[in-house]
Each structure stands twice: as structure tokens, then as C-alpha cells.
Symmetry: C2
């Protein structure tokens, strides 16, 4: 495990700062489905994703969900340390979508170094700007794209992440990703099936006409 793989400015921290991070960090594993962070009360720390897959989402007051972004191997999770910044006035929930292994740098450690290290503060800025860009992509999607296109795009993205055109995913989980009720997902999937773009069976969606799905998504 090499910190510089995650934090490109690692070598611009001084020896003491690096030692402070390495000595206070802990390795943790999260089983699929386990919450890494939820609500504003927690502030575990900055997480470096060694393996697995993390989903960041936001919920409505009545419990509906929409995925904001996902984190993969070599990504950094900033919002598990959101208490570091006063101006973060929103809650993000983080859950392991696959068994995941992470390095946690405690918030106080990271913050104390960021406060005095311009390289680390600027790097943190870039990480936040990346997540901001992800959320702006979502705004673009929900504002301007019809649900059929968003669903087509989601199925293609899932297939690409899994490296497999046969997706083991329920309609409810898709609804949680896209922020729509399950029934809306089911209705649209049935329409896709009628058009020959997918084949549906219990808990499985098979992409049967990737080209048509792509055309729909990019339309």
C-alpha cells in the first residue's frame, strides 16, 4: 500500500506529516451492504479505497434514494470526513456496494495537516471539485434527460462496471440509483423488453441489444 498512489502530493508533505498520517491510519473492511457513513453526526475520516466499490447517495425525507456517484479502487472518499469543512451543509450516505477494503485517515489528523499544508489543501480542493463535477452530471441528467434515456445509460454503465451484459439487480435497487419508484422502473424495463433491448427474468436483466440501448442513451 503506497500513499502516493492515492495522494499525488504525498512527497510534498514533510516527513513528520507523512508519519502522522501513516501511524494514525487504520485498515478497515466493509462487507457488501454495510454503511461507511451516514448522516452528519459521523465523521470517520478520509477513506482511501484499496478494493471494492462504494456508493454515495442522498435520500428524501420519506426514504427515497438517488445515487450521486460511485467510488472504486484508488479513489478517495472525502465526504466520510465532511466535518472537516464547515461549509458542507448536506448529508451524503455511503454504503459498500461490494466487499470493500479501505484505509481510514482520521479526520482530525487529515485536517490538522491540511490546515498548514498548501499542497494537501489544494489536493483536497481537486477531490471536492471532482465530486462536484459528478453531482453536476447528475443535475444535467435529472433536469434534461427523460427516464428512458437515464435507464438505458444506467444499464450500460452497470454492464461496463461488471464486465457482463447479464445484470443481477432488482428493479427496486435500480429505482434507488435513479431516484424513481420501482413501478416506474418495471414499466420502462418491460417497454425495453418489448423492443428487444433486454430480456427479463427474476432478479436478472440481460442486455440483448446493446446497440439499440446505446442509441437510446445517446439520443
Amino acid at each position: 500500500m503506497n500513499y502516493a498512489d492515492f495522494i499525488p502530493v504525498w512527497n510534498r508533505l514533510d516527513e513528520e506529516q507523512r508519519a502522522k498520517i501513516t501511524s494514525s491510519s487504520v485498515r478497515r473492511t466493509f462487507k457488501k451492504g454495510v454503511f461507511l457513513h451516514g448522516g452528519s453526526s459521523e465523521c470517520t475520516g478520509l477513506m482511501l479505497i484499496l478494493s471494492g466499490q462504494i456508493r454515495a447517495y442522498t435520500t428524501s425525507s420519506d426514504g427515497r434514494e438517488v445515487t450521486l456517484y460511485r467510488l472504486f479502487e484508488r479513489d478517495i472518499c472525502l465526504f466520510s470526513a465532511s466535518c472537516m469543512m464547515n461549509s458542507i451543509q448536506f448529508d451524503i450516505t455511503l454504503v459498500a456496494e461490494k466487499d470493500s477494503e479501505v484505509i481510514v485517515i482520521p479526520s482530525e489528523t487529515y485536517k490538522s495537516i491540511m490546515n498548514v499544508s498548501a499542497p494537501l489543501a489544494n489536493f483536497t480542493n481537486e477531490v471536492m471539485a471532482s465530486r462536484f463535477s459528478d453531482v453536476m452530471w447528475l443535475v444535467d441528467q435529472v433536469m434534461w434527460k427523460s427516464f428512458d434515456r437515464r435507464l438505458a445509460e444506467f444499464l450500460l454503465s452497470e454492464a461496463s462496471i461488471e464486465g457482463n451484459n447479464t445484470l443481477r439487480i432488482t428493479h427496486e435497487i435500480i429505482g434507488n440509483h435513479l431516484g424513481n419508484p420501482r413501478e416506474v422502473v418495471t414499466r420502462m424495463l418491460k417497454y425495453f423488453a418489448g423492443e428487444g433491448m433486454v430480456k427479463l427474468s427474476r432478479g436478472v436483466i440481460e442486455i440483448t441489444d446493446e446497440k439499440a440501448l446505446k442509441e437510446l442513451a445517446e439520443n
Copy 2:
């Protein structure tokens, strides 16, 4: 004009850094309706809003608009200097909603100091986190709130900004703020009028039952 009013870490910059900012900054005025920034090509600089009102919005490929946030006196506009950060992968358009006066700190000047000053880099982080919070509020609105509630909230917010329950605003402009076609706005306003919450005349919307509108917005 006192830089410390805008940049709370001003006194933690050294004398040379402060002189660099003050000597390179320029005061500019923007008439109502003039663009301060649009698209990724421009990178005017960081703007300190002395007076007026700035609207930040994003557009669809076919020209529809939705307001992301607004900036008022004493606010700082970061995205007019978005080229400072590589990870900002989205375009925001900025337009003067009222005659506005701003101080522009050139992007190169600001960036060169932020690169070496931890206080300035951390302050910039907080500014970005604030704007990120604004956009997360928007996500919450468009994902979970019905259009009647969003429109009620918008009318109340406009009345509060203007200090006046009689709003001089067209249905088209409201549509541009909320990301909906003009016809949808007109239809809902007519419904509001039917319920006695507003009174409509050419180019004017008068809030006649603020309490009912609030109840709808907060429902």
C-alpha cells in the same frame, strides 16, 4: 473596499501576497443582463461582489436553463475562475441579474498564491463547499419536490430578495430559473391564482396569500 470582508484569511496572507492581489485586481461593473462568465473557455478570475446580484445557471444542449444559485453583496464567485482547478468538469454560466459591481482578482494571481498559502487554499475549499451545498439543495428540490412546491418556494424567495410581494417577472424567466417550460409555469400560476394565492397581470405576479403559499412550499 476591504478585502478582509470577503476573504476572512486576508490577514494570514503575507504582505507581498496581499500587495500582489490588490495591485492586480480590477473593479468592474456589469449592467443587468450582461454575462460575467460563460462556457469553459473563459477564466476571468475570482470575483468579489461589491453590489448587485449574480445568477449562476446551467443549460441543456437545447438551451433550457436552471438556476444553480445566486450571489449577493459580499459573496465570492469562484466559478468565474474555474480554470484554476483541473477537476472542475462542468460549465456554469454567470449573468448579472441586477446592475452589479465586482472586484476581479485575476485567476493566475489567485492561483499562484493559493498554491503556496494553506489558509487561502482552505478558504477556497470552504467557498467551493458552500456552492456544492447550494447544488445539493437543488438536487434535493428537483428529485423529491413536486413542481407546485418548487414554484411556491421560488415566488416566496423572490419576494424576500426583492422585499416586495409584487414581482415583476415573466413566466419564461421563472421557467429558466426552475428548469421548466414556460407553459408549465403559466399553468401552475393559473392554478395558484384560482386558489387565491397570487394575482396575475401582464409581467406582474402579486402574492395575495403568503400564508397559503408558505404552507404549500413547506408541505
